[in-house]
């Protein structure tokens, strides 16, 4: 994470910075990076010659937001980009559909069921989605609580292997 970004074309540097940010872990689900989560909205050198990085919060009140800002700032400082501008982007609002496919695989591997349905699904409003157990794959699971250990997760239990697990909610 301490590699200084070498001078070069803006596109190459922006790509190097994205790779750098892909190393910044989400403080609450550390198997995911902030790039996996889809919260890095832009990385670009603007006319003022400075790097601008746009970050969007997942939930308005997510307590991880400030920790993430600090982590991004630290990573950019270490890369020699102390004058980078961090911007909060609210529009369009974050959706769990921005999780990368790598994020889905990483969640599953650590026992958290990834989001199951497109946000636009009308079923989502009324029914708990069918969430396969991330441990044994069984499709007979039940929702214990719509709220879990962080704002973005719900609490489920598998009826087959009896293990409790977290489900990353659709928002």
């Amino acid at each position: 994470m301490s590699a200084v970004i070498k001078p070069g074309g803006a596109a190459a540097r922006e790509q190097a910075i994205r790779a750098l940010l892909a190393e910044v872990a989400d403080p609450e689900i550390p198997v995911l990076s902030i790039v996996d989560l889809g919260i890095v909205r832009h990385v670009r050198f603007e006319a003022d010659g400075r790097l601008h990085v746009g970050i969007t919060p997942t939930y308005s009140g997510c307590p991880a937001t400030e920790v993430i800002r600090t982590a991004v700032r630290t990573a950019l400082d270490a890369a020699g980009l102390a004058d980078a501008v961090l911007e909060e982007v609210l529009s369009p609002p974050w959706t769990s559909e921005w999780l990368t496919s790598a994020a889905h695989a990483k969640l599953e591997a650590c026992g958290i069921a990834p989001p199951q349905e497109p946000v636009s699904s009308p079923r989502r409003l009324w029914n708990a989605p069918l969430v396969p157990c991330p441990r044994c794959g069984s499709r007979t699971t039940e929702r214990v609580s719509e709220f879990g250990s962080t704002p973005c997760k719900a609490h489920y239990r598998c009826s087959a292997c009896r293990e409790p697990f977290d489900y990353f909610k659709c928002l």
């Binding site: 308005s60 009140g61 997510c62 909060e88 982007v89 609210l90 409003l125 609580s145």
Partner: protein, 264 residues
């Protein structure tokens, strides 16, 4: 942090004052309701409900922070979100009177939450088309969370109302006691009218029947009786509060008032 949206308000002081006031009202309702929900942490009937109420408190306080920061910029006197949240007295708060009412029992809290969730659903949906793009962006974010909140509060309202004799009685009592504060929800004053004329705010008059229909639908499923209209308008949004707000703020603001400028 994001680029400021330019609205006509910035050229007309009266318009700018109304704009500030409008955003402040939305912010204070979220802040005060969030603080009230926070009082449940560790006290809810079950762990899952404790988590749920704490999650809503977080969402609401997060929304309040975005709105207060914006309100501070519109005001232009250098007050940030902390100055607005922690260093104002009750008459300077502009929340709905309903939001500051004490928690009571779980049923009472659910009724308060459900009435305001249904109100915020209409307000935020209306603000999606606001001429003020920053307010529209905050509303779009908040609306997604409010849908979640309403699903929870209406779900509990129905479960309690259509539950046991005691749960029915308690939630009906909560409704009877809080209903008098609902006349304020859609009572437009000069601030609302100015904002509506500028295309910044939706017309409250048009939102009221939609709110009312949603309320009736949930009440019917919950087998609860809608209390008669009580036209006395409370004036929390104009800074005239019930005595409960002062007690709540005394606790919420204690640290910042005792140690001005304290930092973690």
């Amino acid at each position: 942090m994001s680029a400021r949206s330019r609205t006509p308000s910035e050229r007309d002081p009266a318009q700018q004052a109304a704009h500030f006031r409008y955003v402040l009202r939305l912010a204070d309702t979220s802040l005060v309701l969030g603080q009230r929900l926070g009082e449940w942490v560790g006290h809810a009937p079950a762990l899952e409900e404790d988590l749920g109420l704490a999650n809503f408190a977080l969402d609401l306080i997060g929304q309040a922070r975005l709105l207060l920061t914006y309100a501070g910029e519109l005001e232009g006197r250098g007050r940030d979100e902390d100055a607005l949240a922690f260093l104002r007295d009750p008459p300077d708060f502009a929340n709905l009177t309903l939001a500051e009412q004490p928690n009571g029992d779980f049923g009472h809290t659910i009724v308060r939450q459900w009435l305001i969730d249904a109100w915020q659903l209409e307000i935020y949906a209306g603000l999606l088309r606001s001429a003020d793009s920053r307010l529209g962006a905050i509303a779009a974010k908040a609306l997604k969370e409010t849908r979640y909140h309403h699903r929870f509060s209406s779900g509990w309202l129905i479960r309690l109302g259509d539950g046991t004799a005691e749960s029915h009685e308690r939630v009906q009592a909560g409704l009877d006691s809080l209903w008098r504060f609902t006349a304020e929800l859609f009572a437009a004053d000069e601030v609302d009218e100015r904002m509506q004329a500028a295309g910044i705010a939706p017309a409250l008059m048009e939102l009221a029947p939609r709110w009312s229909a949603r309320i009736d639908e949930d009440l019917q499923a919950a087998t609860l009786q809608r209390p008669p209209a009580q036209p006395y308008p409370w004036h929390g949004r104009r800074g005239v509060h019930t005595e409960h707000l002062g007690h709540m703020l005394a606790e919420m603001q204690h640290l910042q008032r005792t140690y001005p400028g304290v930092r973690w």
